[in-house]
Every structure is written in structure tokens, then in C-alpha cells.
Symmetry: D4
Subunit: 207 residues, 8 copies
């Protein structure tokens, strides 16, 4: 009667970054801007680090919603990039769904702006089609805590797993011995407290 443990597998996971656009980012007020920017870039860094197929999509980027965060474009120059002409739910866009299916992956890591629309709609649609959906909650932003928790409830009840970028990285990596330095660098770049630990550690051991 409970959800089974669906464990992330780096050979079976793809990342969907939905509508992290310069204009829409000003709507995000449930996470502070410094923190939110860091979380989104941490997610994109881990996508790159684990070589996960990544799909970018935007909504009306030539209008007030604004262009995709430039950092994302730069990081995935060859990723499928679906500038949707109007579909609010990215899953209503055939190109997008085709791109997702073309990855051949069953596990979808979804993040976006705003949580209850750009994330929840494709998450719910993907679950319906049998995908295993993982919402990256801290790389997804919205207006306030009421909308956040309403969206989380709707997605969780439908079967999505709620995770954050750090949990995703750890579950994908599984064992530090696969690449200690790589994971430590990812953490050092996005968790100031962890960087401090490494700085102090290096000062004492590397002289």
C-alpha cells in the first residue's frame, strides 16, 4: 500500500529543465534568489557531471517571460532545446515528448519555474505515461509556500518522488569511490559549508 523504492540510476535517468527564463525567475519568491540560482546551476552541473541526457524547454521566450538563463544554454549547447510556441504543459508539445522518449530513459528528473505549472503539469503527464518521475524541489520555484505545498501534494499523491539536487547527486553516484574528486568538486562549488570543510581539510593535510 506504499510507494516502492524507485532508486535513481544514472544509466536510466534524464533531466528536464522547464522554463528557467529570466523573466519568470522574478516570480520565484518561495526561495531566495541567491539560493535558487545556486540550486538550478547545481542541478545543471550534476546533469553534466553524470552525463545525463538533458532537455531544455522554454515558453514564449521572445516575450515578457524572457530568454532562458544564459548559463543553461552555455552548459548544454547540444541539448534538445524546445522553444514551445504556446503549450503551457510541456508534455502537450510533441517535440518535447519526442525528445524525452528519444533519450530512452525511464527516470525523469524535472525542475522548473513555476513549480505548480511548469513542473507539475509535465510531471503528472509523464507519470500517466508510465515514467518514474522525480521532482527536484529546490531547483523549482514558485510564488510562495501555499503554491509550493499545494503543488507538492498534488504531485506526491500522483506518485512523484520529491527530492533535491543534493539527494539526486548522491543517489546517482552511489559510491564515493566511483570518483571522489568529481563529487567533491560538485559539492564544493554549490555548498559553501562543504567548501569550507574542504578548505580547512586541505590546509591541514596538504602543506
Amino acid at each position: 500500500m506504499t510507494k516502492p523504492y524507485v532508486r535513481l540510476d544514472k544509466n536510466n535517468a534524464a533531466v528536464l529543465l522547464v522554463d528557467h527564463q529570466a523573466g519568470l525567475l522574478s516570480l520565484v519568491r518561495d526561495i531566495q534568489p541567491d539560493t535558487f540560482k545556486n540550486n538550478v546551476l547545481a542541478l545543471s552541473d550534476l546533469a553534466k557531471y553524470f552525463k545525463l541526457p538533458t532537455i531544455l524547454t522554454t515558453s514564449f521566450e521572445s516575450g515578457p517571460n524572457g530568454p532562458l538563463m544564459p548559463e543553461l544554454k552555455e552548459q548544454f549547447p547540444d541539448a534538445p532545446y524546445i522553444a514551445r510556441p504556446g503549450n503551457i504543459n510541456a508534455w502537450d508539445n510533441e517535440d518535447f515528448v519526442n525528445a524525452v522518449k528519444a533519450t530512452g530513459k525511464q527516470q525523469l528528473l524535472i525542475a522548473g519555474v513555476v513549480t505548480e505549472v511548469c513542473v507539475a503539469f509535465p510531471a503528472l503527464s509523464a507519470i500517466e505515461e508510465g515514467f518514474q518521475v522525480f521532482v527536484v524541489t529546490d531547483a523549482s520555484g514558485t510564488f510562495n509556500e501555499i503554491t509550493r505545498h499545494s503543488a507538492w501534494d498534488r504531485m506526491s499523491q500522483a506518485g512523484a518522488q520529491l527530492m533535491t539536487w543534493f539527494g539526486v547527486a548522491c543517489e546517482l553516484h552511489r559510491d564515493w569511490r566511483n570518483d571522489i574528486e568529481g563529487l567533491a568538486t560538485l559539492f564544493s562549488n554549490h555548498i559553501p559549508d562543504y567548501r569550507n570543510l574542504i578548505t580547512s581539510y586541505n590546509a591541514l593535510t596538504k602543506k
Copy 2:
């Protein structure tokens, strides 16, 4: 074992506005007054915009609970208006249920004051009768976070979907191309951050 994705359909949805009365509004303390007023009016605007059948109901409006917010009366002059003589759960009122059924819609968007009574009671009753119930959480207010989360838990466990007015508007609209200006106007009137984006955009593109 999880809730299926019941997607809002503008041809199959009705809006129930329950007890947004001038007196009762002073009881709402889990959302700030400026924000709450804005959310309620955003919901009524979207009901009108999508031409959703809308039903108004009040509890004892000649007593201390006070009259319905005048803005709602003005916006829906021809809507069924059930001034309940005493039933606390609107669903206990035959006229109300008849009005709901007369819409012929299966999806009910419910908002009201206070959340755990005026919203939760008819929501639970409607689910029992087979309706698909969507609680518009940010157009529903109550005393504090304890009552809010108790009510959310009860409704969610019973099968209601928790959404906010913005998510509702987006799920009903589906595609910007159906009417870009209409949706943008709705957002501009009720999301100051979005209005700012449009103002800046227009300044640069419409000179």
C-alpha cells in the same frame, strides 16, 4: 495506488465561491489581507474569463457574518446565488446542490472562508457524490497554519486536488495561442511581478 492525473477541462468545470463575506473575512489570518483579496478576485476573474459556471453562496449574510464581497456580486450578477438559511455545509442545502448539478459539470473548483469548514465540508461531500474536486487553496482562508494544514490533509486524503488560482488558470487555458492577450491581462492584473515584466517588455518593443 496513487491518484490519477485528473486534468482540468474548461468545458467540464464549475466554480463554487463559498462564504467570502465581509465579516468572515476578518477571521482570515493565514494569508495577508492584500494578498487574499487579490487571490479571490483573481479566481473570480478567471471564472469569468473562462466562462465557467459560477455559484455564489453565503451563510447568514444579514447577521454578523456580513454581506458577500461586493466585487463578487457585481462580477456575477446572473449567477445562482444561494443565501443559505442555516446549513453550515453548503452541500446540505438542496438549492445549492441543485445549482451545482444544473451546471452539468463534473469538475468543481471550490474556494471559500474558512477553509476547514466552508471549503472542506462541501468538498468532502462532493467527492462522496463522485465529483472531481479541486480546492483553490490560495483563494481560501482560515485562522492560522494549524487549521490550514489540518484541512488540507483531510481534503487531500479524501481525494481532493490542491491547486492555486494560477495553476487553475494555466491548466484550463492549456495553450497561450488560444488567447495570448486574455491570459496576459489576467496575470498582469493579479501578479504585480508579471505586470512589471510586461511593462518593461512593452517599453522596449512598442516604442
Copy 3:
């Protein structure tokens, strides 16, 4: 796959007040003291108003836990009063269970201090024996929000309904016409905002 709507029925409900003792009350820090005292007294007032069988129980009241709040003793001088000699879960005490069963009611409204122990334990036990359990969340207090939400999750997942005293009163009363003045007095005594509405209303209508 969702919980059915179990509706409170004043002919089928009993109230269990567990360990609202002067010493233990100093442990309650997830609700401010003025508010918590008011909520507990509101629950006891409604128990009395609706003539619900009420059972009082305490844990070690001669020790540091201290005596039951005097207001509760005074309000229910003839209620079963089980001073438990040591059982932490009141349901482990045969006298208590017998008293509950003697009421002949199937719906149990439970409140107490602290939420995750004195409320959750008997709530879980009673559900196991087939009772319909309603936790009165705002008349139950505990150390902080972490313990509150942990306890709520455990109880909700086990089938308990989370409500507050106001929702309970409204669901029991069902229709203002059953006794307008009685319900209004209950609200006026425990909701300052509602009292203000009545004061202003009376000033304008009763001169």
C-alpha cells in the same frame, strides 16, 4: 483508494482529553500559551455544549506533571476521570478503554499534551480497534513543529482525521438553525475576531 468522508455526528461522538496537566503544559511550545489555553477551553466548552460524553485522564498527576487544568475538572465534575498509575498510552489502561467503550460512541475526538505521545498513541490504538478517530490538532500541543508534523503524519497515514475545534463544532452543529445563539456564544467566547463582529452588529441593530 482515498479515505471516505467520515462525518462527525453529535449522537455518535465522545471527547477524550488526555493529560492537559499544569506541569506538562509548560512543554507545549508549538502554540503560544494564550492561544493554546483558549483552544483547550473551546474544545471543552463545545463538548459540554453538544453534551458529548467526555473522558478525562492524567498521567502521574501527583508528580512533576502536575494536576489537570482546574478549568477542566470544574467543567466535567461527573465525567469519568482516570488518573493513570503509569501507562503512557492511555489505551493501555483498562479503565480508560472501558470508559470509552461505555459511551457507546464510535467517533472519538482526541486532544492532549503532548501530541506525539498522549494523543498519537491512543489515537493509533483506537483506530486499530475500529474507532473513527478525529484528532483536535489545535487543542493538542507539543515541543515544536518537527514533533508536531511527525505526529500528524503518523496519525494521518494510519487513518485519523485532522481537525481543529472550530471545524469540529461546525460539523457537529450542521445547521445554525438548530441553535443560533448557542453556537454564536461559543464562537464569541473563543474567537475574538468573531466577538468583534457580534459587538459591532449588535451596536447597529439592537439600539
Copy 4:
């Protein structure tokens, strides 16, 4: 359709303390440091008091993650101590799983740093293997409330019970008469408000 009441039994429970390391503790920011340290030590004290088999494990303790909190090492000098060479999910470490199974217990109390990784991963794995899992939420810490609630949701949906150290102690003890002084000492050492009650009580009764 709801989780049954799985009650903690001191003859059937083991405690898993995962990665409470000096470096990792600086990452914990969803609970204040004084409170978190107190909660962890309360859990270890109760493990000792109830003579629960306890297993210690760490991740890379010679690196920046730092050594286990010295207080835990001192309290359980003879406990199985698995310094994992790299597995992030402790359940991926054969020695750890063997140690757990060697206890012969079915109920696992898990706490650690950080909640969504070091706690959630082994919790989900253990549930999959049929163990009854209890997360000790307030002896587990993480970055912020978003990660906490994401992790709680994932674990709760998978069947874990969320409790805090105080609830655990009470459910294990069951009856004060089993040892009044022992339980009171545990509470006095870790709940300042309870210590105050005892101080005042003793002053009045023991002169």
C-alpha cells in the same frame, strides 16, 4: 488502505546512527545547533537506557566529513562501527547490513546527517527488505526545510513512520512503573522544561 499501527517494542528494536560526523554537522541548518546536539545525544542515551542494539557508521571519516561525534563513540565503545569506504547508502555496505541483521531485530530506528541521503537511502532500502522503519526526525538534520520535507514525504510515502526521540522513548517504555527514575532522568537531562518541573517539585516535596 492506511498504514497499520506498528508499535515499537524494546525487544525488537535496533538503532542505526548514520554519519553524525563533525564536518557534516556543519551542513545541518534546519535545526539549531544546540537543539540538534541535544536531540542526537538524547537518542543515544535512550538507546543505551533501553539497551537497544546500536550500530554506528560513518562516511569517509578521515576526510573533510570529519570524525564521528566523540560522544557517540564514547557511549557505544563495543557497538558495531562501520566506517564505510565509499558507499553513500549505508545499506549498500555489506558489513552494515550484516550488522543490522545480526541484531535479529525487525524494528529499525534510523537517524543521521543529512536526512535526505544518509537517513532516507538506508530507510528506503530497509523497508524494501521488510524491516519496520522508524525515522527519528529530530535527531536527523539537513540543509533547510525544503530538503527536510522532500525527504520526509519520500520516506513516509514508502512506509516509514516519522517519530522524534521523545515519542520513541515513550513508546518503548510503555509504563512509567517499569522504571520511573530512569525515564525521568532521561527527560531531565534532555528537556530543560521537564528538568525545571522536577526541580520545583523536589524543592517542595523533598525538604
Copy 5:
């Protein structure tokens, strides 16, 4: 260069209760309603207990601002009661100033709704005329923390002393031996935590 210690003297103090009206109370959102009502009644109880001359005043009580809290009227049936015909700053009303001066007191304890207008304006005016002004901050309410702290800053910089009802009671009483039971009763009626201490104390010492 600092303010001298102006100590409250029960023979030289008067209480001004400004605009605690049923309608205006709904504007108070920087203090929870249960707590605010309790604070106001605590102040009026202490005014009565210390036999301080007390002056009541209201603004447009026949309009939407509503009537004075009935409890205040009942407690001070013979107090000067100035229903101001329109002056927003009570000090602009000659009857009010005359009533203040007629008390012959130099120390004015002022509380009211809302803080930055009904309290701050007469406080600033009274300071200008040489009175020693004490703002009872927790019996004064306003819209939010921005208005509260703006008003506090303006009054403090002008020379007002910021106190709460509890500090006022203690500074007026000076020595418990003047009347132990009287002060304890005042605290017991308005500080639930203190009432609990007394309940536990009495249980142990008065059997």
C-alpha cells in the same frame, strides 16, 4: 546623553486607552487576536488593581470603527469617556486633554489601536507638553511589523519609554509584600504559564 530612568510611580500615573474599538480591532495583525485581547484586558485589570485614573476615548464609534470593547466599558463605568467627534489625535480634543490634566498625574501609560496613529500621535503631543510617556506596546496593535517598528522608532526617539503590561505592573507594584495575592491573581489571570506554576504549587502545598 542618554534618557534618565523615569520610574513608574503608582501615585503619579494615569492610563489612556485609545480606540480599542470592535471594528478597528480587525485591523490589528501584528499580534495574534487571542494574545492581543488578553494583553488589553491585562492592562485594564492592572489599571483597576492599582486604582490608576483611566481615561477611555473612541473615534467615531457609531460608524464602521465600531463600539469600544464592551469589557472596557464595564470595567471603568465611571471613567472619563471621550467619544471624539472627529479628531484623529486624541490630544487635539480639548475634553480629552482636560481629562488627562484633571488626573493631576505626570506619567501617562498609553495603549491603543492602531499604534502608529492612535498611540503615537497623543504620545508625541503629551511629551511635547512635558508629560512622561510610557507606551504599553503589547496592548497596542497595528497592521504589521513595518508599521509597528516605524511607530516605535518615532516614539522612542521622541523620548517615550516602551514597556509592556507586565513590566508596567511590576514597576508599579515594586514589592510583592505590598500585596502578594493581588499581584499573583493578576498574573494568573493573564499569563497561562504563571497560572500553571501556581496550580502545581498549590497542589503540592495546600493539600
Copy 6:
């Protein structure tokens, strides 16, 4: 040794609205957007209502800072409008200072975005030149509470008075009898709780 009571006088006051531009508004995160927009419009409404000379100024409005809020432009079509070519402190702009001096007023009500720059700099400069400065704190926004309180401290220590739009309106109006309906309309349009009071009042008295 304390600041004297400088009372606002509608014949001696001017309003300076500094940099309420569509782009800069997205930087404001110490006040929620709905509330902030309402506060700014309340201030501009009161400026108009009291016929206070009002000066508009912007910084680089053709760049990313964006154009002035259109509502302000519309409300003051004939007001001096100084689009500063580069001066960050508006007081460094001769046209602006001349416009201020041309009003002939000694009391300056200043609001803007962001508080510690666009408000604080001209406020400090104006004080230096002998003006009486009133900061309208709730119509001024900034990044977070640290910047807000740093700016408030700097301005208050320099002699500025901190007020909010409501206090300003009340101190300017002085007596309801000057125009009951005008002031009530201003409040009704910008304080939802006050509007509710009026709605209920009218319902009972105007039928």
C-alpha cells in the same frame, strides 16, 4: 536630548517618489509584491487627495531598470518628472533639487526603491539642507530585512522620521470632519479589512 515632535502639515508637505520602476521592483523582497504595490498606490492616492506637490524621478529608465510604474505616471501627468541621466542620489541632480525647492515646502515625504539607496541618500542629503524628512517605510522596498534595518537605522539616527502611508494620511488629515467620505474612500481602497468594515456597516445602516 530627543527629537522634537515635527507634525506633518498638509500645507507644508511635498511627496518625492523615487525610482518606482518596473525593473527595480523585482529587487524588492522585504515586502510581498501585492502588499508593496498597494502601499505605493496608497501613497500616491493620498498625495493626490491632499493635493501635495509630488515629484517623480527615475534612474536610467530606458535601461534594465525599466520605466516608472505606469500608474504613477497616469496619476501625476503634470508633476515634475526628472529622468536622471546618471546620478544615483537624486539630490545630486540639480533639476530634482530645484523641483523640490520650487514647491516651497519644508516637509518631505520620501519613498522609493531601494530603501537604502534611492530613499536613504536623498533623505540624508535633504536633512543636511534643513528639510524635515519623513520616510514612508512601507512604500519603500529593498532586498531583505538586513538592508531594510540598516537603512532605517542610518536614516533615523540622522534625524528622519519613520512613518507609513497610513500614519501619514492620518497626521495630514487631523480631523475626520474635514472630509469623512474622502478619507474613508482612501482607506477602503487600500485596506481590505477597512473596506470590510464599511461593507458590513453599510449593509446594516443603508438598507
Copy 7:
């Protein structure tokens, strides 16, 4: 026009611990109990470490206020201990003032429960008599933030310096070289984050 820098001098400072009694501690709700207990013990530890003359005083300790925290009695067995028979302001008690003057120190570090009475009253009295007063804000507790900030404002305006125990320890110690281990031990015992730093440091340097 500003306060001069009065620097703490370990040869000229005394500590006054006022009314840290088991009953009164239950009134402290502006600081969490674990943290508050830690702060008070940190202050008493530093008093002992720096060999500062320390004076203990209580109010009615045989009544509901309860006995002094036992830890304080144990730490200062030979300190002057003034159990006041009734004076609320400790400075009204001749024995207390004599004890203070007998120390021959000019700098008084004051902490107590509750801040606005037991701390503020003697602080204001001592300033009046020419002492240099330092309020140890985090070892002083009170009902809520309103009373805290009212009390802080009153004391600060009167010339008191607001510090916390950590700042006090650092200003007294002046130079780590005076005793590295002593100061580090004090910090390690009362700042978990600092203890973690030392634990990690030792693990790397002392093997």
C-alpha cells in the same frame, strides 16, 4: 553625541544573575529552552573562568517562582546569594546593592529572567548610580519578541550596552595567548559548531 566605547575589563567587572529560577524559566519563550539553558550556563562558566565576582539573587524562591537553577548554586557555592523577600527590582534590596558595591567593580554584567523586569529594573537603577551596565541579552529571557525589544530599547536608550555571552568572553579575554586552552574549552562546551571545528582539527593534527 554618541556613547563612548566602554570596554570590558576583567579586573573591573562583576556578574549579576537575577532570578534564573525553575518556575520563572517556563515563562521564557523568546529563546528556545535548549539554547537558553546553554546560554545561561555559558555565562556562569565564563564568570567562573574569568574569576569575576558573581552575585546570585532570587525572588520568592519558596513559592511558584521556584528555586534557582541548581547548576548555578553548585557553580557558585560561596557567592553572595540574596533571596529577596519581595523587592521586584533587585536594586531596591539593600543587601543586593551592598553585595554589588562590595565587589568594588564598576562594570556590571547583568542577565536574568524576565528581561524587561528582573534585568531592566536593576540595569536602569545601576546606570543611575554611575555603574557601567552591560546586559547579557542571550542569557536573559522573556515572553516574546515584543517584550524583548521594548526592554532592549528602554535599556539601550538609558545607556546600557547590549552584548551576548560570546562577545563578553571575547572582550574580557582580549588575547588568545592569555590562555588558548581555557577559552577554547569554554567555546567548545557551549558552541556545538565550534566543538565540531576542534574535533575535526584534532583528528587531523593529533594522530
Copy 8:
């Protein structure tokens, strides 16, 4: 009777960065880590941008306090770097004071960890010697809000000006025309909301 407006002058200002060390940073809990790191780097970037003489100092960097943040060392390779052998107040270190005086500047911008010690002590000492002191509050961190506000009060009362890095940058720059791109780059790198504005602006104007 108020502080005069001391305006920052880029030709007369120096920056003192005190104890931003990897270990000590783990003590900072009044600002979130992402935000705090960003603020410190923003301050160092502006110091470099305005070519302000900058002085680095640390306390015991070979011990648990850890080394200076590497980013600061890299940014100011030629700055005076005073690794204090033990003085807690940097101003007690002759080398440090000499370095400050050698800059020939009268305006000192001070930031550090922790606020009430490493910032407040040298700030108070510098004021005593006649410097104009500006505390960069958001690049200074400490344990919690109690210590922050105690330290702010002490410094402000002593004559320090409280500012944040953004206000400092604006007051130093004075006029955008001095270098539009330079200032915009500084803001874009450290204020995500501002970067978004620029991204959207460029997308519309630079195609």
C-alpha cells in the same frame, strides 16, 4: 542632536576584512550560506572595482578557525595581510592599526565574522580614534538574530553607520555615468534579480 550625513568617498575609504575564515564561517547562522558567501564576495569585488585599499586579517588561521576564504586571498594578493597571533580585537594589533593608518583614509568599511566580536571591537576602537566607521552588515555574520541586533545596537549607538554592500557601492559610485558597464557587471554578478533584468533587456535590444 543627530548624526551628520557622512558620505562615503572613494578617495577616502578603505576596506577591512576581518576573520572570514573557513572554520569561523560555520558559526554564521543569521544569514544563509549561499547568500553570505555572495555578500562577502560582492564586497571584495567592489573593493577591487573602486580600487579601495583593502586589509586582510585573520585570527589563528593555523588552528580550528581555519584559513582565510581562498577567494579573498586570490583577489588581494598584494594587500596587507595580518595573521594576528592572538589579539581578538584586530585594533589591538599594532601591525593592523599601522596598516590601516598607512592607507591614509579616514573612512573605514568593516566586515567580518562574527559581527559582535571581529567587527564590533575594531569598529568601536576605530571610532574612538576618530575614524568614520561604516559596518557592512550583510558581509558580516554571526550566530543568530539576538547577537546581530545586540551588536548593531552597540555599534550604532557608538556612532557607526550601518550599510550593506549594495549601498556602499552606490554611495561610492555616485553617478552611473562614471562607468555604466562596470557597475552593472558588479550588480549582475551578485544580484540574480538584476542579472535577470539585464538578460531580458539585452535579449530585446541587442539582437
